[in-house]
Amino acid sequence: MIAVDLPYWAQSLLRVLGGTVAVLLPAGTIVYLFLFKMMSFMQSRLGPMEAGPYGSMQLFAEVGKWLQKEDIQPENADKRIFKIAPLIVLVSTFLLVAVVPFGPDAYFTDFEAGIFYALAVSSVSVLGILIAGWSSANKYSLLGGLRAAGQLIAYELPMVLAVIGVVIQAGTMNLNQIVEQQNAGSMFGWDGLGNPYILTQFVGFLVFMIAVQAELTQAPFDMPIAESELVSGYMTEYSGFRFLIFFIAEFATVGVFSLIASVLFLGGWGIPFSWFGWESNNDVDDWMNIVGPLIMITKMLGLSFLIMWVRFSYPRLREDQLQRFAWKVLIPVSLINIMFTAILKVAF
């Protein structure tokens, strides 16, 4: 434990601040590094270059622009619901980040059923998207909202099933213990790398990342937004600050899901414990609370790079093809994965 005793209110304040940083920092980094720069480079251009060195202040300029814009509400919209919809989407991101461990003691809450909770609250955003689509009083929004609902529910299942493999192998749903299991583990007696589950659960990892891609509505699964078909899907009628919230939520969720994936499959904040002769989480030195978050951010950026790379390369699937892919490919594959994991778990 961190060797300072803080009053309860200070701890709460610290947690709130930390949570905000943990949501906004990855979102900003991802938007700048990947959306602004990587996409531009992949398209043989430089992206924003004027605001700040190499355009690094561009995001602040964009935020300023959005904040100045008029907040337009359609006349026929269900005003109250229209207004809270983006907040619901954002809240789900904040709820998600609450269980992500950044270090041996650097976490917001230490749930026993952490991953269970994470998967549960990630579905809250569907609600926000659905009511955003419904309350906009726009046919494109409605189509987008319904598509989003169908898609997010369909892909929740393979995601859960992919996580079950990890849970079986780790024997716990506590995210911090999953990290510990991976870093303290060994592969066939060799513990130089620990036992990151990406090696044993590679199929699960693939399924999880595909489901994350769909859950985040990034191409090739971006039909709910589908700017060439549905203008902007459920976001069509939103402008100014409310659009900004959707935008932040979208990229913050990319960051948070990358964090969760790195916890589940890449060993989270940890480095293989054998390097320093640690046995379990209790032995880990305090400096890991500083280095751990940095390691996490690195891993998060790596996974976000994958997500974004796919996004910038692929065309979009059709809604029925997407559903077919979820039900006929991903779910059977992840079920087989669970079966094999269970058999191997019992055998070894």
Binding site: Q43, P220, S228, E229, P315, E319, Q321
Partner: protein
């Protein structure tokens, strides 16, 4: 006239039937969705009214005319040199190709022929504008399907072609380079070498697009078997260009027609595809872009020397008569029916544009597809609003 009434009646019956079907099967109402006039996928102001059952289209009707600029009427009050600059703007992506049939029609009426060098350069620029036009299609296709990167590649490589056109004619988009009896000027020095370099880049671009888009499984899933147009239907609706060739009809005015252009001097393949679906239309266009770069290369090797302008009077008066000339433009068959009464300007010009006919098949081909496929099919039919509304 009876045809028109029949068609209206048919579309009315289709709408009624659609409603009836919805009411009987599901006891729900259809949703009428306006795609356009302001919509990202219509690249321009085409409005398509679709009636949806869920996401399935049961009835669709294109409604053009939001960008009507009255070119046919305008030509009546302009002189022949002035008309050339107007008709540049019909299909704005392949604008040099718009000039050629009009000039050929006027030349036919005046009974003069451009010198061979002018004909060759005309053909080169014609093919360059085809490349500029279709390469943008290949990129835009990606955007319509949700892939954002191809369009930037298309803009990047189309820029080289536009620079070439600008280097020779002075105008990037609206060359206004064709004159009755030849061309405005000869090519500047170094242009031929530069063109060879650019053609290499364009072939590379075609490979990139093929890897990025056409080979992709998702792209194929989205386009194969979608919006199938059988050859007979395609011919009935008067489709032309790549849309017709993708249905398996081997028809290309470049090869089938003998005009004073240099196409008979080069060896090229007319690509067709038996499927007639969206993929076939895109694929045929990709192959045509490749083929066009080869045509340009062959033409560059054999440009004859000589003047680029025949002897024509300084003030052009076209003798009385009528002429119709059509060429294989990037979008399909484009023709001008020019009626002259011996004045400085034409008496009447009827412009047959490819997109107008290509888009007329929309009600037929959109019936029963899903909303995302509406976009795919529209993208693969490839229309340009200026070409529809004139």
């Amino acid at each position: 006239m009876t045809d028109l009434i029949d068609r209206q009646k048919l579309s009315y019956i289709a709408a009624q039937a659609a409603d009836a079907r919805l009411n009987v099967e599901l006891e729900t109402e259809g949703m009428t969705l306006n795609i356009g006039p302001q919509h990202p996928a219509t690249h321009g102001t085409l409005r398509i009214i679709v009636r949806l059952d869920g996401e399935q289209v049961v009835w669709a009707d294109p409604s053009a005319g939001y960008m009507h600029r009255g070119y046919e009427k305008l030509t009546e009050v302009r002189t022949f040199p002035q008309v050339t600059t107007l008709i540049n703007r019909i299909d704005w992506l392949g604008s040099f190709a718009n000039e050629v049939p009009f000039i050929l029609a006027a030349e036919q009426l005046m009974e003069i022929e451009a010198p061979p060098r002018a004909q060759w350069i005309r053909t080169i620029l014609f093919e360059l504008s085809r490349i500029a036009n279709v390469s943008l299609f290949l990129g835009d296709l990606g955007v319509q399907l949700g892939a954002i990167t191809p369009v930037f590649f298309a803009f990047r490589d189309r820029e080289y072609v536009l620079n070439l056109i600008e280097g020779a004619t002075g105008g990037r988009f609206h060359p206004n380079f064709d004159r009755i009896g030849g061309l405005k000027e000869d090519l500047p020095k170094g242009w031929i070498d530069e063109t060879r370099q650019v053609m290499k880049k364009l072939r590379n671009f075609c490979d990139e697009i093929e890897n990025l888009l056409f080979g992709n499984k998702i792209f194929q899933d989205r386009t194969r078997g979608i919006g199938v147009i059988p050859p007979a239907v395609a011919q009935q609706y008067g489709l032309s260009g790549a849309n017709l060739r993708a249905s398996g009809v081997d028809w290309d005015l470049r090869r089938d027609q003998s005009l004073p252009l240099a196409y008979d001097k080069v060896d090229f393949k007319v690509w067709t595809h038996p499927d007639g679906d969206s993929f076939a239309r895109c694929w045929v266009r990709l192959q045509e872009t490749r083929e066009a770069t080869k045509i340009v290369d062959q033409l560059l090797d054999g440009i004859p020397s000589g003047p680029v302008m025949a002897k024509v009077p300084r003030i052009i008066k076209v003798p009385e008569g009528e002429a119709f000339v059509s060429t294989e433009n990037p979008l399909g068959e484009m023709g001008y029916y020019v009626v002259s009464q011996g004045d400085l300007g034409p008496f009447r010009v009827k412009i047959r544009t490819a997109s107008f006919n290509n888009i007329s098949i929309v009600p037929w081909v959109l019936r029963g597809v899903y909303v995302p496929d509406v976009i795919t099919i529209l993208a693969s039919l490839y229309f340009i609003l200026g070409d529809i509304d004139k």
